[in-house]
């Protein structure tokens, strides 16, 4: 069977891509949200792999919890973004620099 390290490599790759997505992105906040989702997916991937590899159920269970939490989290995130849009009519990342120094 495929050694676990391959999977790990994939998941770390996803993770890094998501990180890159967060700090390379200069345009829209939503893209950041997406990359966050990607990050969590990579983590889930990890958990599933390990769970399978250790044939232990805890990993899979953990994934469910993560999924639900992420759902809530992104809901809140979107809400915040809406609030932001209300007060400043843009969700452009470059416009969010009022607080600095």
């Amino acid at each position: 069977m495929i050694p676990v390290s391959y999977y790990l490599f994939i998941s770390s790759l996803l993770f890094s891509i998501s990180l890159a997505g967060i700090f390379l992105n200069r345009k829209n906040i939503l893209i950041m949200l997406m990359s966050l989702e990607l990050m969590f997916l990579s983590i889930n991937f990890n958990f599933i792999i390990f769970g399978n590899y250790l044939n232990d159920i805890a990993g899979q269970i953990f994934v469910f919890f993560i999924l639900t939490v992420i759902a809530a989290e992104s809901a809140i995130g979107l809400a915040i973004i809406i609030v932001l849009y209300r007060v400043r009519n843009s969700i452009n990342v470059d416009d969010i620099g009022g607080l600095k120094g």
Binding site: I22, F23, N25, V93, G97, G98, L99, G101
Partner: protein, 644 residues
């Protein structure tokens, strides 16, 4: 009545007087002067008594000390009294003159709005002078030393509105302080070597000390000469010897009675007194005596010359004082301390007399002090005229006058010892002295009455001014003769000064008796110099013969040079102040403010502030930068620990 008690009374009575003057409500002139004079009079009476006692039995000494200043383990600092022939005669001089000066000041300081303050100062001065005289240890000596300095400071600056006065008194104090450094260091050196400051302990341990040496850095010296030298710097400053003399002429800014009391008769002789007091030390400290002698000769002659070119009556007498002090120093240097004390005695009287005369003249001339402007006062003020004459003759050492006995003794000393260089210099000193003394005499009392001072039908001054003149004129004539055989050569100082042996020899081989000394003196160069000086000044200042022009032209530059005290004036009034000023300003502005404070202290603070305001820029406010920094941090940690 025990010596100690009476000495204590002599010492404290002026102090009590001063305190009463301070705290007594009624500050009226009458009351104040009564208080002051009584207090001085008491101590005069007692010191006169002591003096007489000692005349008959000079060997008794009384050394008493138990008032503890402070103690540390077994080291104890005490105050005490030492009553012996030396201190007695000094206290006699001081109180005598102080008394007459007090009386004189009643008239002289009349209607001065701080009359009371004046008397407080003079009383305080008398007290502190007596502290020196009666002290039996170095500490007390030093304390009195500083206190007389203080009172002279206060009295020179008595008229504190006069800028010249407050300049002069500061100068005087500082110069004396310079001397005091030497004195203090010497005292401490003595202390750390014998663990005590008592004169007697010191004299006893002198033999042991004579072969100890101290090391300063790498080089090492014999102890005693160093101590002697250090102490002498103190003496030189007080007694206005070159190069520390230049405060004395300026000190004439003070009221004239003060010039008489402090800057002629008493305080300035403290140095002479101290060296005489420490005669055992100076006997043992070889080359120091030569230095002292040298300085003395220099002062005696050069300052006489300066006196010659002065025009201010008080300054002339001041310079003459310095040169007379030079004579005393000379005899100290020749280790004939008793002669110095003897000259001190006579000089005190006639110089005080001269100053008081000057005072009365100045008073008459409405505080005009330049002798060039005066003239023809002979009829106007006969008392002053005669008393001045007495003082002058005594000063120049006219035979049978008291000055003669003391001064010619000192001069003949060198003939006796065959030191002819010094001898000639001193004799030319006499010549000079005579010229300037009679220059005043002729210019002031003869010639046209330039100031148009009327001869009033009543007496020239009130009695309080006349009496001291007469009171001082008498001893100026007689005291030298009176004490010559009976005291000086009668082992009066045997118990207090170590030169009695030498006195014996010089008396037997040279002086023999006062009369023979006098008669013999008419055939000496001293007298010749005196007479020639007299004639010269008669020609110059009475007949006013003009010396040929070209000679004066030639002399002009020299005169200027001499007027400037050979450059000392420049040194003291321009050079040192400037140096100090620049140095201190430089240290303050450059080092302290610019470097230490602004560069280091505030510099660091500012750098931190700048650094902070530049560091805050990393907080850009953009999410992706924040995320980026987080990831950088992550990577750093990962890399840092990956290759563990």
């Amino acid at each position: 009545m025990s010596l100690g008690i009476s000495a204590l009374i002599i010492l404290l009575s002026p102090l009590v007087g001063a305190l009463v003057l301070i705290f007594y409500k009624d500050k009226s002139e009458i009351k104040s002067s009564v208080i002051a004079n009584i207090s001085i009079f008491i101590s005069f009476i007692f010191s006169l008594m002591l003096f007489i006692i000692f005349l008959f039995n000079s060997s008794t000494t009384y050394n008493y000390s138990n008032l503890v200043w402070f103690e540390s383990n077994n080291l104890i600092f005490t105050f005490g009294l030492l009553v012996d022939s030396l201190s007695v005669i000094m206290s006699f001089i001081v109180t005598f003159i102080s008394m007459f000066v007090h009386i004189y000041s009643i008239g002289y300081m009349k209607n001065d709005k701080s009359f009371n303050r004046f008397l407080i100062y003079t009383n305080f001065f008398t007290f502190s002078m007596l502290v020196i005289i009666f002290s039996n240890n170095f500490l007390q000596l030093f304390i009195g030393w500083e206190l007389v300095g203080l009172s002279s400071y206060l009295l020179i600056g008595f008229w504190y509105k006069k800028p010249t006065a407050i300049y002069a008194n500061m100068k005087a104090f500082l110069v004396n302080r310079v001397g005091d450094i030497g004195l203090l260091l010497g005292v401490i050196l003595i202390f750390i070597n014998i663990s005590s400051l008592d004169y007697m302990r010191f004299f006893d341990s002198l033999p042991d000390l004579s072969n100890t040496s101290i090391s300063l850095g790498s080089l090492s010296f014999d102890l005693l000469p160093i101590i002697a030298l250090l102490l002498f710097t103190g003496a030189a400053a007080k007694s206005a010897q070159i190069p520390l003399h230049f405060w004395l002429p300026d000190s004439m800014e003070g009221p004239t009675p003060i010039s008489a009391l402090i800057h002629a008769a008493t305080m300035v002789t403290a140095g002479i007194f101290m060296v005489a007091r420490l005669s055992p030390l100076y006997d043992l400290s070889a080359y120091v005596l030569d230095i002292i002698l040298f300085i003395g000769v220099l002062t005696a002659f050069l300052m006489g010359l300066v006196a010659l070119v002065q025009t201010d009556i008080k300054r002339i007498i001041a310079y003459s004082t310095i040169s007379q002090l030079g004579y005393m120093t000379v005899s100290l240097g020749a280790s004939y301390y008793s002669f110095a004390i003897f000259h001190l005695l006579t000089h005190a009287f006639f110089k005080a007399l001269l100053f008081l005369c000057a005072g009365s003249i100045i008073l008459k001339c409405h505080h005009e002090q330049s002798i060039e402007k005066m003239g023809g006062l002979r009829e106007v003020m006969p008392y002053t005229y005669y008393t001045y004459l007495v003082g002058a003759l005594s000063l120049v050492g006219f035979p049978m006058f008291s000055g003669f006995f003391s001064k010619d003794l000192i001069i003949d000393l060198f003939k006796f010892h065959g030191d002819y260089l010094t001898y000639t210099i001193l004799i030319s000193g006499i010549f000079v002295t005579t010229i300037y003394t009679f220059k005043i005499f002729f210019k002031v009392f003869f010639g046209p009455n330039k100031l148009k001072i009327k001869k009033t039908d009543q007496i020239e001054h009130s009695d309080v001014i006349i009496i001291p003149l007469l009171g001082l004129a008498v001893p100026s004539i007689v005291i030298g003769f009176a004490l010559f055989d009976s005291a000086l050569f009668n082992d009066f100082f045997k118990s207090s000064i170590t030169d009695s042996g030498r006195l014996e020899t010089i008396y037997n081989d040279f002086v023999r008796s006062s009369l023979s000394f006098t008669l013999h003196s008419f055939l000496t160069f001293n007298f010749l110099a005196l007479v020639s000086g007299l004639i010269l000044s008669y020609i110059l200042y009475y007949k006013n013969y003009q010396i040929p022009k070209n000679v004066t032209q030639k002399l002009e530059s020299i005169i200027i040079y001499v007027k400037r005290e050979y450059g000392f004036t420049h040194l003291s009034d321009v050079f040192f102040p400037r140096i100090f000023n620049n140095l201190s300003n430089m240290l303050w502005k450059k080092t302290d403010v610019a470097f230490l404070d602004n560069f280091i202290v505030n510099g660091i603070a500012n750098r931190i502030r700048i650094f902070s305001s530049s560091l805050r820029l990393i907080q850009t406010g953009y999410i992706y930068h924040y995320a980026f920094t987080m990831i950088i941090g992550l990577l750093i940690l990962l890399l840092f620990f990956y290759n563990f």
